[in-house]
Amino acid sequence: MNARSRFTQSLALASLLLAGAASADPEFNVDFRPAENGQTRVLLSYLADNAVTALDFTVHLDVPDAFSADVSKCLGSLPKSHTGLCRLDGKSLHGVIYSPENRALPDANLGSVLVAPGSLAKSGGQLGVSGVDITTVTANGQTVNANVRVQGQAIPPGK
């Protein structure tokens, strides 16, 4: 029972599809997008398999130690059937999503993390993902495989 998918490629390669999109496995997406005022938005989204009701994840960020970000809306777009918590701990973004009624998590934009240009400047423009751990669980408590995709990249300041 392999419940945990781990993505270990550098961000430079991350736009590649990492695991079979044609499969029925659920998919967890991390997408870097340029945002207003030079910020970078890290979008989190999910493609459902109609079986998973809860998941937890850790996104390992490839950033220097001084990194900071606004995670207040990290899971701010969850469907009403689900609740979640998110926390940035150094270079690791931890999250958990569940349904108190044990309902399947549908396709959803989960939320986003906003990285200010000042934070990127401190990191010399470096912002990427070194790995993602995810546990996806069905309504009957079984863990199932999930695919992970990382797309886009941060725009270093001044470039």
Binding site: A54, D56, G84, V96, G141
Partner: protein, 280 residues
Amino acid sequence: MRITRHHLYAGAVLMLAAGVKAAPACSLDGWSRVAGAQMLSTGSPANGHRRYQGECGMHVSLDGAASGYVEDKSPSGETEYMARFYLFTGDAQLGPGDWVDVFTAYRGETSPVPELTVRLTGGADGANLRLRAANGASTAVGAPVAVAPGWHGIALSWQRATSVNNGRVEWSVDDAGQDALGGLDNRSHAIDLARLGAVSRQGGSGGLDFDAFDSHRSSPAELLLAGDANADKLVNAADLVSVIREYNGGALTPGQPDCNGDGTVDRADMDCIAHAIIGW
């Protein structure tokens, strides 16, 4: 109530009935002896009992006789003894001067002499747990530990002296620090018997609940991972689903679903587990 069978001191008290939905058949038959049986009962949440781990727990009423406990005679001249149990204090009413000895390990069987005693004491500011060990006279091990109403995990480790006055005892409550007392004069002592419940008491009313007793001769008897509802020694989304299923009428979880230790499995435990997962 579960006692781990594969360790030294054993006695199964959980016998599962056939069928997933059936209430489990809980029993105290695995213990060597039950004293004050009218004060004791065992069962699952399906019949109003509290449990910390698995499906069954043991309830001890404080409204009846002076004592009621289960006894484990499987220790025999032990020179090292490690034990763990969980105690629910939320239904006990203990005023100042009231106390209950909830666990005692003894040397000797026919005329047992207390070697280690865990006492729950009432007070104006709430209850305390304290440990005393035989060291010539009975001696306190560390300071009393204040305990809020709820489940509390207690772990003990006792070692007989191998030379003059180098015996040692350690204990912790809820993994929050550890108190120890060294230099014990107990070279001729041993553990031969253990009792769990209201072993002895003065005053008090209501009741206490016990679960997850485990004891060893050498390896530590460790506390259980709170929130590990599916008993896989991890806390992750699978534990959330296990608790959600139980809360919504599904099967009782095999692990420790009562993450916040308040005696019930509900949405607050889901939130507790979610916080544990993200380390918050």
